[in-house]
């Protein structure tokens, strides 16, 4: 049998153990008792024997004394001396009565019985036990003898007058009364029996006994014949064993007399029997108590264990609130305390894990997962409560620049500051999360849906307006925010975030700061994405084209340079604007492949034109990513060599932000290119944050003023002032200054008057396919003199 429960096991163990101990103790005590009982009965018999012997001796002494006293009685002696038989008899009976003797006999010197109280009539006879008659009174002895079939303890004392003249024989009857007296003193059953050897069939005759008649017979039947010494016997009387001592009392006569002292084993064992019963009751009681006790002990152990188990199970279920309530100082208390500590430890760790899992460690904002969960939950609540939600996705502008140029420490500082401003700006009910990188998300719950959903976005933009200070230096970080609404824009978290994301990109693209999601964003977005995937195949399918926009010298009106601009002739979409795919190519890194293709095609075209006799400097735009490619100069050199193009015919245009992202590397790459003899130009000048000190360090030959300054300079005096000073600045630095986005004659004229070196724009020509460019060149004789308005319009 297997016992599963600890409590049952403890109980069974204790009870079985105690039962074994009790049984063993009971067995040992019982055995010892039995042994003790036998020893005790033996001892009682021995003591009884001694007491018995002593009592008989005392009786004999008493007899002797009495006999001596009688023998010395003068009147008695006188009666004897004078043969006064009547007097003798009366003295004997008188004296016998006085001391309680049962037999008084006077025997003369010849051994004849003179007088006998047993037979007052008197028959002339010899005294039966002449051996008792001793001349010296000091030799007198007592003896058990039989007179007239009765047992007597006899003593014979000589009567001296002063010489012996006869013997006084006195006897105490050995009768039931004596036996009873002896029993009283010895606590043993006492019997006196006479053995008559002349009757061998039934040799024993009872003289006196404390027993009832039937038992007397049984006792006599149990006595062995002819025993000379004290014997130990076990005699069964009425079905009860008696331990017996058979003591021969005298052997002066033919009739042997024995005393049998005995005691029932039962009576001796009775006390032990009671003890055994008591022991048994005690054993049963103690086992019962042990059951109760062990149940209590087991409960005492198992109940806290159950408490501990349920506590552990609570912890397993993630309930760390309820501590184990066991106030004990023992091991279980220690265990409970350990469990409590463990509970606390697990709770803390789980909290940390949850924090790691659901919080952004940098800003302590919720992370993407937490935000997704919150959003899902909020959607459910909103759906149930019938209110609306707004999801804002915010991406920092120029963060990558800050992070890469000023280090991650600054980037982290910016992120923390932005998160702090976000928290300070939005409602407390909003959930602010950092989705990753410089992307943040804000969930705003609206009770009614009547709020202006753009208010939050505007406040955030305002909040980020103030520059972020890092070690006292201001950092300007803008942001673009996309806004999506539940339930209008999506029914689930994923859709809402995606919509907000799309809106954010739209805002970024359109530089509007924020944008609420609109369905067409989504399609254009998806268009971008699919374009991107198709762009991968565009190179192989030869769908990319380079168009060239001429640069016109304002000094000579010659066209000596062109800018290569990429075009994608999509088989189904037609011509795809580079603005649609270049930014995404930059984001994905695909731009490197594009740049390589553009460089190769531009250099090839340049070489082709060269062989055709047209010496045109070709400008190629490369991205910031390309500037980090250290192999770029070698690749350029190889291309130039391959197509037999003079390095000075290749001009590489970079944006200010392009080299600002990793100025050190960019510097190295640009230096190598300059060493090759390749021209370098700064594109879109005036939009970035680069200081002129940077520009001065670069081996550039050309500065291209951004089109945003040029296109409205004719109507905006401030812009024209900027252009003028920029031109002066470029000239002062020894740079050629090129104006982009020249769209009208006024601008052209103004630029010429300002001393700008080259101009480029739709007013002169849009970007043209190589063949169209050649045609345009030939039509203008390789020049573009400043025409009148009509001419310009004709050309466009």
């Amino acid at each position: 049998m297997r016992i599963e429960r600890l409590q049952t096991r403890i109980i069974v163990f204790f009870v079985v153990l105690l039962a074994l101990v009790q049984v063993a103790a009971f067995w040992f005590v019982n055995a010892a008792n039995s042994k003790n009982a036998h020893a005790k009965i033996e001892e009682e018999l021995n003591v009884g024997q001694r007491v018995f012997a002593r009592l008989l001796d005392q009786n004999a002494d008493k007899l002797k004394l009495s006999a001596r006293v009688l023998a010395a009685d003068f009147a008695f002696r006188e009666a004897i001396a004078t043969h006064d038989t009547g007097t003798i008899a009366s003295v004997l009976s008188n004296h016998g009565a006085r001391i309680g003797a049962d037999a008084m006999v006077f025997v003369d010197l010849q051994g004849n019985v003179v007088s006998d109280t047993l037979r007052p009539g008197g028959t002339s006879r010899k005294f039966e036990y002449p051996a008792l008659l001793k001349a010296n009174k000091n030799d007198a002895t007592a003896s058990m003898e039989v007179l007239d079939g009765r047992g007597f303890q006899l003593v014979a004392v000589p009567v001296l007058a002063p010489l012996p003249i006869g013997w006084v024989v006195m006897g105490f009857a050995v009768d039931d009364s004596l036996a009873r007296d002896l029993r009283t003193l010895t606590e043993l059953e006492v019997s006196f029996a006479m053995e008559a050897p002349q009757r061998p069939a039934f040799p024993w005759h009872m003289l006196a006994s404390t027993l009832a008649l039937p038992e007397q017979k049984a006792l006599l039947a149990g006595l062995p014949a002819g025993a000379d010494d004290t014997q130990r016997l076990v005699i069964n009387l009425s079905g009860v064993d008696h331990q017996a001592l058979m003591i021969p009392l005298d052997d002066n006569s033919n009739a042997r007399i024995v005393a049998v002292l005995h005691r029932s084993l039962d009576s001796a064992l009775a006390a032990f029997e009671r003890l055994r019963n008591t022991l048994f009751v005690l054993a049963v009681l103690s086992i019962a108590l042990s059951i109760v006790g062990s149940v209590a002990v087991a409960r005492n152990i198992t109940r806290p264990l159950e408490t501990l188990a349920s506590a552990a199970s609570r912890i397993e279920q993630g309930d760390y609130v309820e501590p184990v309530r066991i106030e004990r100082s023992d091991e279980i208390g220690v265990l409970a305390s350990s469990l409590n500590h463990m509970r606390g430890g697990i709770a803390d760790r789980e909290k940390r894990i949850l924090k790691l899992a659901y919080e952004d460690p940098l800003t302590d904002l919720a992370n993407r997962s937490r935000f997704a969960n919150s959003l899902e939950q909020a959607i459910e609540e909103a759906r149930a409560g019938g209110f609306s939600l707004t999801v804002l996705v915010m991406d920092l502008d120029r963060f990558k620049y800050v992070n890469d140029s000023l280090g991650h420490g600054v980037g982290d500082h910016v992120l923390r500051e932005v998160s702090a401003r976000l928290l300070a700006t939005v409602q407390s009910a909003a959930c602010v999360a950092r989705l990753g990188g410089d992307e943040f998300a804000i969930l705003v719950r609206h009770a009614t849906g009547g709020e202006d959903i753009t208010a939050n976005a505007r406040r955030i933009i305002d909040a980020l307006e103030a520059p972020i200070l890092f070690e006292g230096q201001p950092l300007d970080v803008g942001a673009s925010i996309g806004i999506a609404k539940f339930p209008e824009h999506g029914g689930d978290a994923q859709t809402l975030v995606r919509c907000a994301d799309i809106a954010m990109y739209a805002a970024k693209r359109n530089k509007t700061g924020y944008a609420v999601y609109e369905a067409h964003y989504d399609t254009s977005q998806q268009e971008h994405l699919s374009l991107l995937s198709e762009l991968r195949r565009a190179v192989e399918r030869n769908e990319l084209r380079l168009y060239y926009q001429p640069k016109v010298s304002l000094h000579s009106s010659n066209v000596s340079a062109v800018e290569a601009l990429i075009r994608w002739e999509h088989p189904t979409r037609g011509l795809v604007s580079p603005a649609l795919f270049i930014p995404f190519a930059e984001q994905t890194g695909y731009i490197k492949l594009l740049t390589r293709w553009v460089l190769r095609e531009a250099v090839r075209q340049c070489g082709e034109w060269l062989r055709e006799g047209m010496r045109l400097t070709v400008s190629v735009n490369i991205s910031a990513r390309d500037l980090m490619n250290r192999d770029l100069p070698d690749q350029v050199a190889a291309l130039l060599h391959e197509h037999g193009v003079t390095p000075s015919l290749l001009c590489i245009e970079i944006t200010e932000s392009g080299f600002m992202e990793d100025p050190a590397n960019a510097q190295k790459v640009l230096d190598r290119l300059a060493e090759l003899g390749v021209k370098l130009s700064i594109d879109d000048y005036g939009t970035g944050y680069s200081s002129l000190s940077y520009v001065m360090r670069l081996p550039v030959q050309e500065l291209k003023i951004d089109r945003s300054f040029i296109s409205h300079m004719a109507t905006d005096p401030e812009l024209s002032t900027i252009v003028r000073s920029t031109i002066d600045l470029g000239h002062n630095l020894g740079l050629k200054v090129v104006a982009e986005g020249v769209e009208d004659l006024a601008a052209l004229k103004m630029l010429r008057s300002l001393g700008c070196d080259d101009a480029q724009g739709f007013f002169m020509s849009k970007p043209l396919a190589p063949r169209a460019l050649i045609a345009w060149m030939r039509a203008n004789d390789n020049t573009f003199d400043c025409p009148n308005t009509a001419t310009v319009q004709k050309l466009r």
């Binding site: 002696r77 004897i80 001396a81 007058a161």
Partner: protein, 200 residues
């Protein structure tokens, strides 16, 4: 005490001196040949009436000294009065249940009791009722010719007239059987050995 015995003997010798007679010495031995002291002998004439009777008021004495009869064995002629002085400073109460003379006399220290006349022959065993261990043997005989043996075991009957006699010897202390024999006495002193055997 021997001096007392001596007086008796002297007295008897003086009485017998009137008749022509010789001394008769008896050597008393036990069966082992050991001389028997304190044994008594006496003779009675086998021929008629030749023995003189005891003189009137013949006296003898048996003292009590240290809870003992002294002498323990005495022999007197019938008709002799025995004086029982008490040399002890305690009381004695002497008695006899013997057929020859039954009596009791209380003896007080320092007070002379009346003498007791022993007029019948026979052995009188004397005891003290106060002191059971005291015992004395007094032979009362019908003849003037008797003697008691000394330490050497010889007893001499003096001035015994010649003639035929019956000799009786007894030694009560030793509990030997009394013996009788016939003796013929001449004028000359004679001597005879008597051996006493153990008897009832």
């Amino acid at each position: 005490m021997r001096t007392t015995g001596g007086h008796v003997a002297t007295l008897l010798t003086m009485l017998g001196a009137t008749a022509a007679a010789g001394d008769f010495t008896v050597e008393l031995r036990d069966a082992a040949g050991k001389p028997l002291a304190n044994a008594v002998v006496y003779v009675t004439a086998k021929t008629a009436a030749s023995a003189p009777a005891a003189p009137p008021h013949a006296r003898a004495s048996i003292d009590q000294i240290d809870k003992e009869f002294v002498p323990r064995v005495s022999i007197v002629q019938a008709g002799t009065e025995i004086q029982f002085p008490n040399s002890d400073n305690i009381r004695h109460s002497i008695y006899s249940f013997s057929p020859a003379k039954t009596f009791t006399t209380k003896l007080y220290s320092g007070r002379e009791a009346a003498p007791v006349l022993f007029d019948r022959s026979g052995l009188v065993v004397l005891g003290c009722n106060i002191h059971d261990q005291m015992v004395a043997w007094l032979y009362v005989v019908d003849t003037p010719w008797f003697a008691k043996s000394g330490a050497d075991g010889t007893a001499t009957i003096r001035a015994l007239p010649p003639g035929d006699y019956r000799l009786t010897a007894d030694s009560p202390e030793d509990q030997l059987a009394a013996t009788e024999s016939d003796v013929k006495i001449d004028a000359a002193p004679s001597r005879q050995l008597v051996t006493l055997k153990a008897g009832a």
